[in-house]
Amino acid sequence: MTYTPNHSPCVEQNHPQFKELDQYIESLHLSPDDPRRKDTLIMTLHRAQEIFGYLPEIVQLHIAKKYSISHAEVSGVISFYNFFTTTPKGKIQVNVCLGTACYVNGANKVLQEFEQVLGIKSGQVTADGKFSIESLRCVGACGLAPVVTINHKVYGKVKPGDVREILEKFFIEEDKDVKEVSHA
């Protein structure tokens, strides 16, 4: 991937986000000789994604160095798990559950409606970086199927007709209340 400093939250190594990550890694007391040191790698990647919003190459390299492992190992783990992303998400992350219970209750139509209204496909981000859509597998709230989560808030029993109304609020609110959050 290409790394463009202007779009990245991490311009310098002494950036507060890196400091926060380093604090976490230090609390793990990694020892380069410990063959088991990697058992916290996934936890660290979760933390890093929480801090940065995604896992750009510079963050991967940083983590690889801290763990005394190769960049390939870190990158291999990231690419394996759906939860990790190497591209930034929107500030407002729309997640449509496509678990079976939601699916048989029409979740795919809800997803289509979000895609149509926002003009992007699942997995994409709007040009202004504000919205992104993802589909996810079962949040376990099947009593509320179909379920949509938008930045940690859960919307239950969503119908395609509700989509515009749900999004309206986010269009109006602009950025004032919307914090950049990691993948829910």
Partner: protein, 625 residues
């Protein structure tokens, strides 16, 4: 929080705390004391149940009823369809679909004046009567709650309440009075089998791990509940995390492990939070850590998050993921009991399995063994979802029939539709058709009809669901989740998905159906792990029981359930069309021709099958076929 250093201290802690539950268990009836429990599970939490608790607490304060009326969150009551749930003790009144603003009405009417709020009581859909207590509700009548015993009873964030329910007594009994060998024998005698899917004897698994000599061994709790539509493990962890911790400790004592890991899905933030609280509290009380209850037994637990990979529910893949690697499975043998985490003897047990363990030692293996069928003992929790009236968690003795679960507990099919199939076992399971509704459910019976127990997801489908499309849905899931390590799973399932997509889009041929069968056999025979070996099950079971639907798609290019969009046609019935032009005006692609007071027609080559014309027509002249 005082430390508990001996089993005598635990016994006195129990005596001290048991009054916490007296109103709830009805052991002390005091007319003025009330306990309001509000469900704090994920579903109800999402519907602002925390706000309900806040409102009640403010009302208690305002009315000066502190010490008389209590309000707290609890674990999941299971009746998710009607959430948020509020239960009032000791009268056992069960309020459903409560909104934060309803708190004042419940408080004024019920707490202050002793009248029930009729409006918020559950109405039986058949009797059309309001049900006042939980016991009256058909959803609960056939249930027997063992794994879920504390869910909806105790506050999951308070270890005192777990101790008050008899918690950690089994651990005390096991580590002070029994040898590891006796513990294993008791587990084998109980007949408990793994609740994660395969149904292997839990006691046997522990026995294998105990036989390998090693300085280090591990207990892993598999909380990577990946089956879409299954949420029983989440509810147990959210509602009663301590029972899982206690189960892990007993397992640790039995096999000689000192370290446990809970591998939990990152999609369950609330369960992670509750588990963290529980571990912290248990440590603070000295129930986790070194020299537990003064016996010299050491055990601690760490939490590890998954990162969204279905295959990590498979034990060898899970172990790889715990080691910070890609979650790819390994060939077995060696089984984890011999060489697991860091190549040390390891047992991997599912959440529900572990939650059953403390009860077995509390009430005895014989008692547990008396519940269930010949081969499958105890109860099973099912996550009932899909097109059923009462979506929720149900725990029933093994041997309960599907009909009892779907109709008596589940309240029948939504919107008066017809039952078509019950899908159990998630992407590894199958679809059970109507003719097997009366089969008593256990591990063997489900397998014999082409499905499996799996972790307990049960998705009900009605005649509005297309079974070919469902098979395609599961295959899409598998293709996305296949780790790619072995060829049959990586490529075979992809081919299956292509064929199924062709069929649902009207490009299928009769040869495709044979091809699906032969591919399925190859994938089952040659895949490396459980994911691949069971991946074709949804396809095979739908081919077996719903072959007519496949035929209709292939031969007639028709979807009998009217789900597959590409196979649908909208048509205007000339005898009903009065030429109002409404449909033509609403068509986004302008494919409807006809002028005022003339019969309209749809140009099929341009139609995108959006259905706008059908919604707009007030005369029922537009039909879908």
């Amino acid at each position: 929080m005082p430390e508990i250093q001996t089993s005598e201290q635990l016994a006195s802690a129990y005596e001290q705390y048991k009054q916490l539950l007296s109103t709830r268990l009805g052991t002390v009836v005091d007319d003025n004391t009330r306990m309001i429990l509000v469900c704090g599970g994920t579903g109800c939490h999402a519907s602002e149940s925390e706000k309900i608790v806040e409102n009640f607490q403010a009302l208690i304060k305002k009315n000066g009823l502190e010490g008389k009326v209590f309000c707290s969150i609890s674990g999941c009551f299971g009746f998710c369809e009607k959430g948020p749930i509020v239960k009032v003790f000791p009268d056992n009144v069960f309020y459903v679909q409560v909104k934060p603003e309803d708190a004042s009405e419940i408080f004024e009417q019920h707490m202050l004046n002793g009248h029930k709020v009729k409006r918020l009581l559950y109405e039986d859909p058949i009797l059309k009567e309001k049900m006042e207590t939980a016991e009256d509700i058909s959803f609960y009548k056939l249930q027997q709650r063992i794994a879920l015993r504390n869910c909806g009873l105790i506050n999951p964030e308070k270890i005192e309440e777990y101790i008050a329910s008899g918690g950690y007594q089994s651990l005390a009994k096991v580590i002070t009075q029994m040898s590891p060998q006796q513990v294993i024998e008791e587990m084998i005698a109980s007949g408990l089998r793994g609740r994660g899917g395969a149904g292997f004897s839990t006691g046997k698994k522990w026995e294998f791990a105990s036989k390998y000599a090693s300085e280090e061994k591990f207990v892993i709790c598999n909380a990577d509940e990946g089956d879409p539509g299954a949420f029983m493990d989440r509810s147990i962890m959210e509602g009663d995390s301590h029972s899982v911790i206690e189960g892990m400790m007993i397992a640790g004592y039995a096999i000689g492990a000192q370290q446990g890991y809970v591998y939990i899905r990152a999609e369950y933030p609330l369960a992670v939070k509750r588990l963290e609280i529980a571990i912290r509290q248990a440590r603070a009380m000295g129930l986790l850590g070194k020299n537990i209850l003064g016996t010299g037994f050491n055990f601690d637990i760490a939490i590890r998050l998954g990162a969204g990979a279905f295959v990590c529910g498979e034990e060898t893949a899970l172990i790889h993921s715990l080691q910070g690697l890609r979650g790819e499975p390994a060939t077995k043998p060696p089984f984890p009991a011999e060489s697991g985490l860091w190549a040390k003897p390891t047992i991997v047990n599912n959440v529900e399995t572990l939650a059953n363990v403390p009860v077995i030692f509390q009430r005895g293996a014989e008692w547990f063994n008396s519940i269930g069928t010949k081969t499958s003992k105890g109860t099973k929790v099912f996550a009932l979802a899909g097109k059923v009236n009462n979506v929720g968690l149900v725990e029933v003795p093994m041997g309960t029939t599907l009909r009892e679960i779907i109709y008596d507990i589940g309240g029948g099919i939504k919107d008066g539709a017809e039952f078509k199939a019950a899908q159990t076992g998630g992407p590894s399971g199958g679809c059970i058709p109507r003719q097997y509704l009366d089969t008593p459910i256990d591990y063997e019976s489900l397998q014999s009809i082409g499905s499996m127990m799996g972790s307990g997801g049960m998705i009900i489908m009605s005649d509005h669901d297309c079974m070919v499309n469902i098979a395609r849905f599961y295959m899409e899931f598998i293709v996305e989740e296949s780790c790619g390590r072995c060829v049959p799973c990586r490529i075979g399932n992809k081919r299956m998905l292509e064929i199924l997509t062709n069929i649902t889009e009207g490009r299928g041929t009769e040869e495709d159906l044979d091809e699906l069968r032969s591919l399925s056999e190859t994938i089952i025979d040659t895949s490396l792990c459980g994911l691949g070996q069971t991946a074709p099950n949804p396809v095979l079971s739908t081919l077996k029981y719903f072959f007519d639907e496949y035929e209709a798609h292939v031969k007639e290019k028709r979807c009998p359930a009217g789900v597959c969009q590409k196979l649908m046609h909208y048509k205007i019935l000339p005898e009903k069309c009065i030429g109002c032009t409404s449909c033509a005006r609403g068509c986004p692609v302008n494919c409807i021709s006809g002028t005022v007071k003339q019969v309209h027609a749809i140009d099929q080559s341009k139609c995108i099958k959006c259905g706008a014309c059908m919604t707009r027509c007030k005369f029922g002249a537009v039909v879908r076929e």
